[in-house]
Every structure is written in C-alpha cells, then in structure tokens.
C-alpha cells in the first residue's frame, strides 16, 4: 500500500495548500501546543513544528509533533543539523516515523551564537542538503552509511526551505535544484514581503525548469505591529528581508493589527497568482490565533478532506 501524507495528497491533487507554523513552548507544558492546535484545526492542511528556532531551547519538535497528532493535526516536523549528528538524526527519524510523524522539513538551522546557549558546541555534522539525502535514503530502506534497514522502514514526505531573499540571488535556484535532487518534494520559503524579488527568484526557477519538480509554498507572516517589523529588521533576524514600505504602511495604519492581516491576505493573493506557487505557509509566530482569520479572508478556508 502506498503511503501518502495529507499534505502530499493536497499538493498532488492540485489544491492550493495552506500550512501554518507553531513554535513549541519554552517549557514543558503540552497545553500551549494543544491550545494553538485547536485554533488552527480545520483551517490548514498541516502544521509545522519548529526545532529550537533561533537556537533557543524549546520543547523538541518530535514531542511537539506527537502532541499535534493527538490533537488531530498532521505535523511537519522540523529537523536541523545544528544540535544533532547523523546518528542522533537517524535515531530521531526512526522514532518520529514510529510515532506517526510523516512530514519532515530539513534545515541547516540558525547559528548557535544567535540563541540562548551561545556556549554550546555547534554540531553541523551535515548540512541541509546532506540531511535531505539522509532522509531520502532512510525512506529507501537504507541508513546513511548504506547499511540496510531490516524490518519496517520509515516513510516521510520530505520538505526543505529556501530563502529567495538571501544572496546571491542567481545561486538560490541552483541550490534549490540541489535540494530537489537530494530528495525535497516540497519547499516552504522564507517570509515574502518583497514580492518583486520573490518573482525574480521564481522566474529564475522557471528558467531552470525546476518549478514542475517541486511544490513551492510561499512563506507568509502577518506583521503584528510596526514595532515587531522594526525589531526584526534592526536585529537582522537571519534571512528575513523587510522592505521599508511595509514598515511605513504599518506605521500609518489606524489599526496596526488589522493592517497586518490585510498585508498577509494581500501577499497571499499576489503569490497565488504566480505560476508555480502551490500553497502558502503562514508563520504567525506568537500570533497563531490570527491564522483562521487570514485563511478566511484569503478565501482559503474550505480545506479539503482527502
């Protein structure tokens, strides 16, 4: 029997996919995840669960993903190369598969010095592309060293990230092609505010003929306030580009939150028009409760039951 994840079925059926993201709590309280899961349920096809983002300790993505499953939500588990070597990663992947986690997102990970334990030893045994190869190999029944997996092999719908705003622009599609070659079936991009640059990137991808080979979901973040945007810009949150026009637009708005929702909905509508964009990934970090409203206003709220 062929196994497919719900997210995979949505994407393969050509329905414009919607995913969201939850950052696990900085404590041991499962209720934090359960509450956010209840907000999101029914409005998205799958929910990403991050792996100690910005190198700050959070509840593990594996445990958090299991809590999502208990809440009836299909998780996309993030795995980074920052804290685990190839032994620990494979071990976690076997465990994740055994616990019913079927979507994984492979990332290199934010650097350690940006987080709350800058004293830690950075691992980076692999990079994200090598990690993709590892997951693909496991799904083919082989450990990373080539040894055969005797017994049940894991199944994963494999995802990766891409940052169309990182430099050099001309190399980003090449790197994306490498990720696809390594095993990525779907891509979630960094937050799109600069649509011009995003389109340039997608055009380059099209020229390289890679749009047909992967499902790209555009990253969307509703700005909660101009203060938040300025903070992100000033502190140079890795990989995020915030055009000044967006900040100005937020500042001049009567109701900043309302304007933030408008911006998110507008960007969703604009990226939806771009051929090759197969869905959106809404990262409303610290504002997950707003996701249903955005999904409704973007007219994406009838999620398929496949």
């Amino acid at each position: 029997m062929e196994i497919k994840t719900h997210l995979q079925k949505v994407l393969e059926s050509g329905i414009f996919a919607v995913t969201a993201e939850i950052e696990p709590p900085k404590n041991a309280d499962p209720e934090v995840i359960r509450e956010k899961a209840r907000w999101l349920k029914g409005y998205v096809d799958a929910v990403n669960i991050t792996d100690s983002p910005r190198a700050t300790v959070k509840m593990s993505s594996l445990a958090s993903a299991v809590i999502l499953i208990q809440e009836g939500i299909e998780p996309v588990m993030h795995i980074t190369c920052r804290d685990r070597n190839r032994i620990a990663i494979q071990s976690d992947l076997l465990g994740a598969s055994a616990l019913g986690i079927k979507n994984v997102l492979c990332l290199t990970g934010d650097y350690i010095s940006l987080g709350n334990h800058p004293q830690a030893k950075p691992v980076f045994d692999l990079d994200s592309i090598q990690l993709l190869s590892l997951v693909k190999k496991l799904c083919e029944g082989k450990f990373f060293n080539g040894e055969e997996i005797k017994g049940k092999r894991p199944y994963f719908f494999i995802g990766a990230v891409e940052n169309p705003f990182a430099d050099p622009l001309e190399f980003r599609p090449i790197r994306l092609a490498k990720k696809i070659k390594a095993g990525a079936k779907f891509i979630q991009t960094q937050i799109v505010y600069n649509l011009e640059r995003f389109k340039k990137f997608i055009n380059l991808c099209e020229e390289m003929g890679i749009l047909e080979r992967v499902y790209i979901l555009a990253g969307i973040t509703p700005p909660k306030s101009s203060k938040m945007l300025k903070y992100m810009k000033k502190n140079k949150v890795p990989g995020i580009e915030i055009p000044d026009e967006i900040i100005k637009r937020m500042e001049s708005a009567k109701d900043e939150k309302e304007e933030g929702i408008n911006i998110a909905v507008e960007i969703i509508e604009r990226v939806r028009e771009i051929p090759g964009i197969k869905g959106v990934h809404i990262m409303a970090i610290g504002w997950e409760s707003i996701v249903p409203e955005i999904v409704k206003r973007a007219k994406l709220c009838s999620r398929p039951e496949l």
Binding site: T108, D110, Y111, P122, D127, S128, D167, I174, A177, G239
Partner: protein, 223 residues
C-alpha cells in the same frame, strides 16, 4: 601560523602560587611572533610575575629560557640541566609544546602561559584571522582556495545558507559569507557548474573523529 595569546597574569599567578622556583619558557619558531618578540614576551612575563609576587611578600625565583620549538624532543632535551633547578614551568608555547613537556617530565608541574587560539594569517599589524581547521582532508582545490569548513560557521559544504545577505554571514557583521566569495570566484572562472553537484557528507574521522591523530612515515633505510 599558530596564533596564541598570553593568559591573564592572574591566572598564571594562580598556577604558581605554591611554587618558589619557576621557569618561564618561550617558544620561537612557529607562532605569530618573531624571535625577538618572543624574548620580549618572556622577559615581560618574568618581570610581571616577580613584581606581583614581591607585592605579596612571597619571593619567587624565576629563570627564563627560549627554545626554537617545544614540540620536538631534540629541543626539549635542552631542558635537562635546568629542569631540576625549578619546580614548575610556565610554557609560552602553543598547546603542543606544553603537552610534550608534560609527556617528557611526568613529575614536573607544567602550566600553559598562553591560550592557543587558531591556525591563522596575519592580515595586518595586530590582526590575525583563522584560515584552517586542520581537518585532515583539504577540499579547497574545489572551492577556489577558500575553506568552507573553517570560514563558514555552519561548516556547510553545499552553501550558502539562507542567512547570507549582501556578502555577510548571519553570525556577525564583520564576517564575510565565504560561500558567496566561492560562488563569485568560480563564476568568474566559468566553473560554477562545479557547485551544481551535491557535496557528500564529510567524513569527520580525519578531523579528529577517531581520537588523537597520528602521522607515521616510512623511513628510508640506507640514505
């Protein structure tokens, strides 16, 4: 070269607190300092130790010596005479020298007088930058002479990551993204296709993954 930095005087004083005859031992050949600088550094450490100890009223006899290399037994042997005259050595060599002296003289108290920082280059007066991690499997023939293992904080072999912006690394403002440099160079040389292929995961055994690294060469007999 090997870049070292003198330890804070307080730390050195702590090491030798219970000793009253010590040797401050310089090492002149392969650190970033010239032979004269090494001599000066040895004298400076000696003077400072004496001065500080005098303040506490605990007199200390400090001998000084500089070896060309503290990492070769033939030079360590030069310590034979002096070693019985002192009860501790402050070595200003890199960690290799300190370890070898400790290997040779199990009873001798040997302390590091410097922190061994990295293998680097002198970019300008007073400024050194790391260029090599001695990972044992050099790939810079494929990366335009620039080492991603050393110069990319994430050791990426299929870079650059999503944190590179305007040629700068996400880790800090003054750190160039080495992958952007590699790409620019290979592109100019018409060799960008080199980066199309996926670089396989590194075998970290050569970088120390199997414990202490050794090199043994067959010696030619009869020459």
């Amino acid at each position: 070269m090997i870049i070292t930095k003198l330890k804070p005087l307080e730390e050195i004083l702590q090491y030798i607190e219970s000793h009253d005859k010590i040797l401050v031992l310089g090492c002149s050949e392969c650190t970033h300092k010239s032979a004269t600088d090494v001599e000066k550094e040895v004298k400076k450490v000696v003077e400072e130790i004496k001065r500080e100890r005098e303040k506490t009223g605990k007199f200390v006899e400090v001998l000084e010596k500089t070896l060309p290399k503290q990492c070769e037994p033939q030079y360590i042997k030069l310590l034979e005479e002096i070693k019985d005259k002192v009860d501790a050595i402050i070595s200003l060599a890199c960690g290799v020298g300190v370890n070898l002296i400790a290997d040779f003289y199990p009873k001798m108290e040997v302390y590091p007088g410097v922190n061994t920082l990295f293998l680097g280059a002198k970019i300008k007066e007073g400024y050194w930058v790391e260029k090599c991690r001695a990972c044992g499997d050099c790939i810079i023939g494929y990366t335009a002479g620039l080492c991603p293992i050393t110069r990319c904080p994430k050791n990426m072999l299929n870079g650059p990551c999503g944190g590179a912006k305007n040629g700068i690394c996400e880790v800090r403002k003054n750190l160039p993204c080495v992958w952007q440099q590699i790409i620019r160079r290979l592109k100019n040389r018409g060799k960008l296709e080199r980066l199309m292929k996926i670089w396989e995961a590194k075998d970290w055994r050569s970088a120390g993954g199997e414990g202490v690294r050794e090199l043994r060469e067959e010696l030619k007999v009869g020459n």
